[in-house]
């Protein structure tokens, strides 16, 4: 399973990798902002899952999701961010994310959201 991690914090990407390493044949591609994320979508895809942060330099996560959804309606995307207000969650869902994880998170919480998202995508 090929997973794209878009987050400006390498520490956070490492935590996500450790948490999701148990997924079947997990293979990770990393991007430090939305610009790198879009480039990775084009050059290293297709991905079976994308985790994206909200606040990043150069291009934020909401812009990244909006741009991806212009051409790709199916790849499951999870916003993984410190932004926890309801309005932010609604904005992210409107932009096209499939699920939302608020930092800080436990490994169990992230794994559960990922499993939910993958199951829904498989059933669709």
């Amino acid at each position: 399973m090929k997973i794209l991690l878009v987050d400006d914090s390498k520490t956070m990407r490492n935590i996500q990798k450790r948490t999701l390493a148990a997924l079947p044949e997990a293979e990770f591609v990393e991007a430090g902002d939305g610009v790198e994320g879009l480039a990775a979508m084009n050059s290293s895809g297709p991905f079976q899952l994308v985790l994206v942060d909200w606040n990043m330099p150069n291009m934020d996560g909401i812009t990244f999701v909006t741009k991806v959804r212009e051409t790709n309606k199916t790849t499951p995307m999870i916003m993984c961010t410190t932004e926890a207000e309801k309005t932010r969650v609604i904005d992210a869902l409107k932009a096209g994310v499939n699920n939302y994880v608020v930092k800080p998170f436990t490994p169990e919480a992230l794994t559960e959201k990922v499993q939910q998202t993958l199951q829904k995508a498989k059933a669709a």
Binding site: N14, I15, T82, E83, E85, V102, F105
Partner: protein, 162 residues
């Protein structure tokens, strides 16, 4: 020359309590250490010196900044617990980890401020006895935090806009 003290504004608990709760939540969930938060007080001068600070700016209905400051020994131990690896202070990954901790503290507190606000990406300062300038005329509240592996402090220097 006589120095005139800056008039203090009343401490607004609505701007402090969210950070107290956020610190506990972030360190318990992501670092795996229980944090004891001591009584917040006004910061009247540079006071305690620190070696590492992460700064997050706020804009919108609240403006100002939150600074999370550590002495080096505590920072190294807390980063190891958070990142899961030993990092030296001169590693870019060390600053990244400190910045991400501050990002989570600020972002997690933001939802409970009762105001619409945006936060900046973190900036990290390393260096013994550094001083971070703050907004004049805005109270700066220091929240002392104790953990089994070392202490740190969260400084909240912000106000609600009209």
């Amino acid at each position: 020359m006589t120095q005139v003290a800056e008039p203090q504004q009343a401490l607004n608990p609505k701007l402090i309590v969210p950070f107290v709760n956020s610190v506990r939540n972030v360190f318990t969930t992501m670092v795996g250490v229980v944090t004891t938060v001591e009584r917040p007080t006004y910061k009247s001068g540079p006071a305690v010196s620190y070696d590492v600070s992460a700064i997050i700016g706020f804009s919108g209905q609240v403006i100002g900044s939150v600074v999370v400051s550590f002495q080096m020994d505590a920072a190294l131990k807390l980063v190891k617990a958070f990142a899961g690896v030993d990092l030296t202070a001169d590693s870019p990954d060390f600053a990244d980890a400190i910045g991400e901790l501050a990002n989570m503290i600020a972002g997690n507190a933001k939802k409970d401020l009762g105001a619409t606000a945006s936060i900046t990406c973190p900036s990290v300062v390393l260096g013994a006895n550094h001083v971070i300038a703050r907004l004049r005329g805005v109270p700066c509240v220091i929240i002392p935090c104790k953990t089994p592996v070392g202490d740190f402090a969260v400084e909240v220097n912000m106000k609600q806009t009209d």
